[in-house]
Every structure is written in structure tokens, then in C-alpha cells.
């Protein structure tokens, strides 16, 4: 009897611990707001860095990519080939009326373009990884010593170092499945 009671109490307390533990872990690793923001994985309200084609997708060196297919784009948002020449959706060079290729434009790392646009130094600091669309996504902060973020209100520390604050956010979509 006492053994069965002890066993029952052990099961109950074990269950309670399990539930409490799950809640604690859940509160640590699964912020419900994660899905509320403007791209997967981003769990704070800082807005995107200005990007030539909208969503702030970047390559491993911080340069802009078109979000929907990961194609390289230049600072004007045009698709470009490996040489930086502007191309159309079929990969053909964009040309003038005499079939001469149009000139290339710059392709500036997004966080550097932010520095030029807003006229203060920026740094690509830390990052965090999450699973998005079946692949691991790296969430990257473009940080500065500016107290305000791109939204206009006070910046958050985010993944920034040395007292810098998040000015705007970017992401790099890896090919690592998850």
C-alpha cells in the first residue's frame, strides 16, 4: 500500500517536474512571437536593413541576394551574373537599343550601404541561427553606436558587440537542412 502510494506520488511529482521543466525550457527556446515578425527567425521588432529588392537576404559576405531565389542583385536591385553584369530573368545580358550590354553597378554589402546611407559607421556583429524553410538561417545584426534603430526608436543590444546596438537586421540562408 505504502509502496503503491509512494509510487503514485513519485509518478505525480515526476509528471509535475516534467511539465514545469517543459514550460521552463519552452519559455527559453520557443518565443511565441517568433512567427509574428516580418521574416522567419527574427524575434525582435527591429526592421530590415534597406535592401535593393526588399527582404534583407544577404550572401556569406553580406552582399544583397534576391530573397525568393537567392540570386545575386546589384545595388539597383537588378539580377547580375558572376561578372556583375546586369541580366534578365533568363540570364541574358540587359542591353541598350543597339544590343550593347548595360554598364554594371556597385554591389555593396548591405551593412556598408547602411553606413553610407545613414552616414554613421556600422558593423556586422554577431548572429543567431534558426531553422527556416527547412534550412538553417543565420540572423545577422547590422550594428552601430547610434542610439536609435532604423525604426526611429531606441535600439536594442541584440547580437551586437562592444556596446553597439542593432540598427537593422539581415539574414543569410544557409544550405544546411534542419
Amino acid at each position: 500500500m505504502s509502496e503503491s502510494r509512494r509510487g503514485f506520488l513519485a509518478k505525480v511529482s515526476g509528471g509535475l517536474i516534467a511539465v514545469a521543466g517543459a514550460r521552463t525550457v519552452g519559455s527559453l527556446v520557443a518565443p511565441g512571437e517568433a512567427e509574428a515578425y516580418h521574416f522567419c527567425g527574427h524575434i525582435y521588432s527591429t526592421d530590415s536593413c534597406p535592401h535593393p529588392t526588399g527582404l534583407p537576404r544577404i550572401d556569406s559576405r553580406g552582399r544583397p541576394l534576391r530573397a525568393r531565389d537567392g540570386h545575386r542583385v546589384d545595388d539597383l536591385g537588378r539580377l547580375v551574373n558572376v561578372d556583375g553584369a546586369p541580366i534578365d530573368e533568363d540570364g541574358e545580358l540587359l542591353t541598350d537599343a543597339e544590343d550593347q550590354p548595360l554598364p554594371p553597378a556597385s554591389r555593396t554589402p548591405l551593412c556598408e550601404a547602411v553606413a553610407e546611407q545613414f552616414a554613421f559607421p556600422t558593423h556586422t556583429d554577431g548572429a543567431w541561427y534558426r531553422c527556416c524553410g527547412g534550412n538553417v538561417r543565420k540572423l545577422v545584426d547590422c550594428c552601430s553606436y547610434n542610439r536609435r534603430r532604423i525604426n526611429g526608436d531606441r535600439g536594442l543590444r541584440g547580437y551586437c558587440y562592444r556596446g553597439r546596438k542593432v540598427f537593422c537586421v539581415m539574414y543569410f540562408q544557409t544550405r544546411v537542412p534542419c
Binding site: 512567427e35 509574428a36 515578425y37 516580418h38 521574416f39 522567419c40 521588432s45 527591429t46 526592421d47 530590415s48 534597406p50 535592401h51 535593393p52 529588392t53 526588399g54 527582404l55 534576391r66 530573397a67 525568393r68 542583385v73 546589384d74 545595388d75 539597383l76 536591385g77 537588378r78 539580377l79 561578372d83 556583375g84 553584369a85 546586369p86 534578365d88 530573368e89 533568363d90 541574358e92 540587359l94 542591353t95 541598350d96 537599343a97 543597339e98 544590343d99 550593347q100 548595360l102 554598364p103 554594371p104 553597378a105 556597385s106 554591389r107 555593396t108 550601404a113 553610407e116 546611407q117 534603430r149 525604426n151 526611429g152 526608436d153 531606441r154
Partner: protein, 505 residues
């Protein structure tokens, strides 16, 4: 100038409105001896009345201007229409013609009884500021509405609205606090019993409207440029590489030879490609030979051997040609010096089409690391970067020796800009969508951030080109009254078409 006279006309129109049934009623309503009960409430009500009137004015005239902008108003024709409206209204005012069409409505009387007076006054102010919700005392109201639509300049519309609202509020807030005093009673009596005052105000309206008509009509180009044009019309199609010199206009028909339109309006096909104009002559390229000719007869007057030449330019003193888009070569027209390279770059950098005024040469240099407009003085060899951009492209400048016309292209839009050749301000002549089509800025099923933005409103995103359309603003030309730019369009089939657009200067 135009803004000033429109503001004056709107202010006068607003003041004239005080002679309406509602204008008189407002003085009575806001008076300390009336519903206000005390001066402090009157002053509060005057403040809210003013705010309401300003808001109402902005809504009406700013809204009409927005409507005009959406309808594609602006430009010389629209300015002429606006001038006609203003002049007709001025005549009506000068002659004291009875207002028609009239709005036979009044503000709700019950508000001042059932609402706190400052609130009622604010709402009354909005209705009076709106202009068309109560009796109209001057044709200027109709004329300003028409001008707002036809000019299609929202900023100007807001100014007109503010001035009109201020005019509507001014007599009320000046008279209401002193109503019941000797001075107030005398002013009220004068308003009510001396038709000459209203008559004088209508004459003032007439003068202000005539000044508006003059400002708009005499200088239609200025009126049109009071706002940044967002519209340009197709001048030629298919066409590219425009050139303008006085009454002469030349262009390239893609895949064919150049064309020349003469002073008399007749157009002729030229014997070569890459047509250009300068010093009263027309030029074209026949393979590696540049020919300059009389525009009337097309009889050659000069020719230059230019191996590998593409686009070229000439003036009375110089001829300059582009080779492989990486080198510019110049030679004096009198051949006093041999041809020599004046600028060269390494591919993939590109040099753009040259433009020449006297000895002043301008061109673009575009590459992955640089985008700049360069000026070279061919006489001295002095070189200067006129404009430089990061994150944007500056393309195909044209100069007449005083001004500089060029295309600025970025991820948010493409602009045709006109500014001083040296340092100085710039005007936006034409703006269109960027070359590339952006996404919505959010992933599917998500929404844009609002947190932190003023009023929780995220900034507006840049306009997008239609799906499958890739437009590029390209070569430019500077005419006496208009600016021209080639629009290259890559459609879904992969073919590039070209038209020449015309924008008012």
C-alpha cells in the same frame, strides 16, 4: 512666385468667406457673451476653430491636388488650363458677378448647443475650411480648386489649403473675442452694413487671381516645374539616342539609321547611325567615319576617320568619339592637333555617350566600384568629377554648357535630373519606377514592422515596376523647353524596345 500669389489668393478667398451666413454665425457663436460664456472659452474655441479650418483647407485643396497628381496633371497644358480658370474667376470677381454654382448649405446649428464649445468650434472650423460645404462668397474658391487639380502638386495644394483655412479663421478669431464690445459691434456692423467692404474684398480676390493667372500663364514652364514631374510623354517610338540643338532634333531608330527633324517639322532618314547635333550641323557615323553635314541638304561639310567609333559628339571646336565604351578620343575640328585619348577605363567599367558644349565634355563612368559624371575641359585638359554616387548609377549626362541633364538610377527609382553644370541645386524632371522589381519586404503570412516608427507607420515602400517589365532610363538630350530621355524596356519575351520620352523642363 506662383506659390506666393496662390497663397495670397487663397487667403483672400478665405477672408471673403467670413461674409457668408456661416461666417457671421461663427463670430456670434464664439463670442464670450454667447455660448462661450467667458473669454477663456472663447479663446479656446478660437484655437480649435482655427485648427479645424486649417485642417479642412488642407483636406480639400491638398486632396484635389493629390487627385490631380493621380490623374497625371501637370505640364504646360495643365498650366494653361489652370491659368484660364484663374483668369475667368478674376473677371467674375472684378465684375462682382453673383456666385454660381452656389452651395446652399450651412453648418449644423445644434452643435453649439449640444457639444462643448471648443469641440463644436473645431468641427465648425473643419466644415468652413473644407470650402464647399457651406455658402461660397467668391469665385476664387472654385478657381483654386481647379488650379489645385490641374497643377496636381500636393505640396502646393496643402499651401493653398492652409492659406484658405487661415483666411476663413482670421476674421472669426479677430472679431469673436471682442464681440459685444463697442469695437466689436462696430466691426460687425461694418461687415453687415457696408457692401463696399465685401466688394473691395472681391476686387482683391480678382487682383490675386489675375496675378495667379499671370504667374501660371506667362511662365508655364515654371508653373509646371513648381512640382517634380512624375509624368513624361512618349515623343518618339521606336527611338533611342536623342539629340537636340535649337530647332533641330535627331534620334536613332534601333537597328536602322538615324533620323533628323528639321526646323520646318520635316523628318529625314540620315545616311548613318548614332546621329548627333552641334554648332548648327548634323552628324552621323558611317562605320569608322564621322560625317558632319548641313541639316537642310545633308551635304557633308567635314568628316573624321574614327576607327572603332560608337557614339560621338561635336561642337564648333571639337569632335569626340567613344571607342568600345572604354575610351574617349578627341580631336580639334580644325585638326590643329592629332586625335588623342582624353579618358580611358578598364572593362567592365564603361564610359557613356559623350556630350559636348564648346570645349566642355561630359560623360559617365560606370562600374562595379564607381559611378560618376566626369567633365573634361578639352582646351586645358582639366578634369573634374561633377557628381558621384554610391549605391546608385549616374548615367548619360548632356550639357549645353550651363546646365547638366542626367539619369540617376537607384533601387528606389529612376530620375531625370537637371542641374547646374557646376555646384548648385537640381530639379527633378521625371521620376519612374526602379529598374528592378522588389518583393513586399515580408515573407508570406507575415506583416511589416510598425514598432518604433512615428505613428506606428512604417515608411512607404518604393513603387514597383510591373511584373516582367524591366525599364531602364538611358541616353538624354537637352532641348530649349524640354528634356528627353531614352527608355529601354526588356519585356518577358527578352526583346529590348526603346522609346524617347519628353519631360517638361
Amino acid at each position: 512666385m506662383l506659390s506666393a500669389v496662390l497663397i495670397a489668393a487663397a487667403l483672400a478667398a478665405g477672408v471673403t468667406g467670413a461674409w457668408s451666413p456661416c461666417g457671421f454665425s461663427m463670430v456670434e457663436t464664439l463670442a464670450p457673451a454667447g455660448y462661450a460664456g467667458r473669454l477663456r472659452t472663447t479663446l479656446q474655441a478660437c484655437a480649435t476653430f482655427t485648427a479645424g479650418a486649417l485642417a479642412g483647407g488642407v483636406v480639400t485643396f491638398g486632396g484635389l491636388a493629390l487627385l490631380g497628381e493621380a490623374l497625371g496633371s501637370g505640364g504646360t497644358t495643365a498650366a494653361a488650363v489652370a491659368a484660364v480658370f484663374a483668369m475667368l474667376a478674376a473677371l467674375g470677381e472684378a465684375r462682382g458677378v453673383r456666385i454660381a454654382p452656389q452651395v446652399r448649405r450651412q453648418v449644423p446649428e445644434s452643435w453649439r448647443r449640444v457639444l462643448p464649445l471648443p469641440l463644436a468650434a473645431g468641427l465648425y472650423g473643419v466644415l468652413l475650411g473644407l470650402g464647399f460645404t457651406t455658402f461660397i462668397l467668391t469665385f476664387a474658391v472654385w478657381a483654386l480648386a481647379a488650379v489645385s487639380v490641374t497643377l496636381g502638386d500636393p505640396a502646393l495644394g496643402v499651401l493653398i489649403g492652409l492659406a484658405f483655412g487661415a483666411g476663413r479663421a482670421l476674421p472669426v478669431i479677430a472679431l469673436a473675442p471682442v464681440a459685444g464690445t463697442d469695437r466689436g459691434n462696430a466691426a460687425h456692423a461694418a461687415m453687415a452694413e457696408r457692401p463696399a467692404i465685401l466688394r473691395g474684398l472681391r476686387v482683391a480676390d480678382a487682383v490675386a487671381l489675375a496675378a495667379c493667372a499671370l504667374a501660371i500663364g506667362v511662365a508655364p514652364a515654371n508653373a509646371a516645374s513648381a512640382r517634380a514631374h512624375t509624368a513624361a510623354s512618349i515623343a518618339l517610338a521606336p527611338a533611342s539616342g536623342p539629340a537636340s540643338d535649337g530647332a533641330l532634333f535627331a534620334w536613332q531608330v534601333p537597328g536602322q539609321t538615324g533620323r533628323l527633324r528639321r526646323l520646318d517639322g520635316s523628318a529625314v532618314a540620315l545616311p548613318g547611325r548614332d546621329p548627333t547635333l552641334g554648332a548648327g550641323l548634323v552628324g552621323w557615323r558611317e562605320e569608322a567615319r564621322l560625317v558632319l553635314a548641313e541639316p537642310g541638304t545633308l551635304a557633308p561639310v567635314d568628316a573624321f576617320d574614327a576607327p572603332g567609333a560608337g557614339a560621338f559628339a561635336f561642337s564648333a571646336e571639337w569632335v569626340v568619339w567613344l571607342v568600345n565604351r572604354t575610351m574617349l578620343i578627341a580631336q580639334p575640328r580644325n585638326r590643329s592637333r592629332p586625335a588623342r585619348a582624353v579618358h580611358a577605363v578598364q572593362a567592365p567599367q564603361q564610359i557613356g555617350r559623350p556630350s559636348l558644349a564648346g570645349a566642355t565634355l561630359v560623360f559617365h563612368v560606370a562600374g562595379r566600384a564607381v559611378s560618376q559624371l566626369v567633365r573634361v575641359d578639352l582646351g586645358s585638359g582639366a578634369r573634374r568629377v561633377l557628381r558621384r554616387a554610391s549605391g546608385a548609377q549616374l548615367l548619360n549626362p548632356t550639357t549645353d554648357g550651363r546646365e547638366l541633364l542626367y539619369v540617376r538610377s537607384s533601387a528606389t527609382g529612376q530620375e531625370l535630373r537637371l542641374g547646374a553644370l557646376g555646384p548648385g541645386g537640381e530639379r527633378l524632371l521625371y521620376r519612374t519606377t526602379p529598374t528592378a522589381r522588389r518583393d513586399t519586404g515580408v515573407e508570406k503570412g507575415r506583416a511589416r514592422h510598425r514598432a518604433g516608427y512615428p505613428g506606428a507607420r512604417a515608411p512607404r515602400l518604393a513603387p514597383r515596376p510591373r511584373p516582367g517589365i524591366t525599364d531602364t532610363l538611358w541616353t538624354t538630350a537637352l532641348g530649349e523647353n524640354a528634356a528627353y530621355v531614352t527608355r529601354l524596356r526588356r519585356g518577358q519575351g527578352g526583346a529590348t524596345t526603346a522609346v524617347v520620352l519628353r519631360a517638361e523642363r
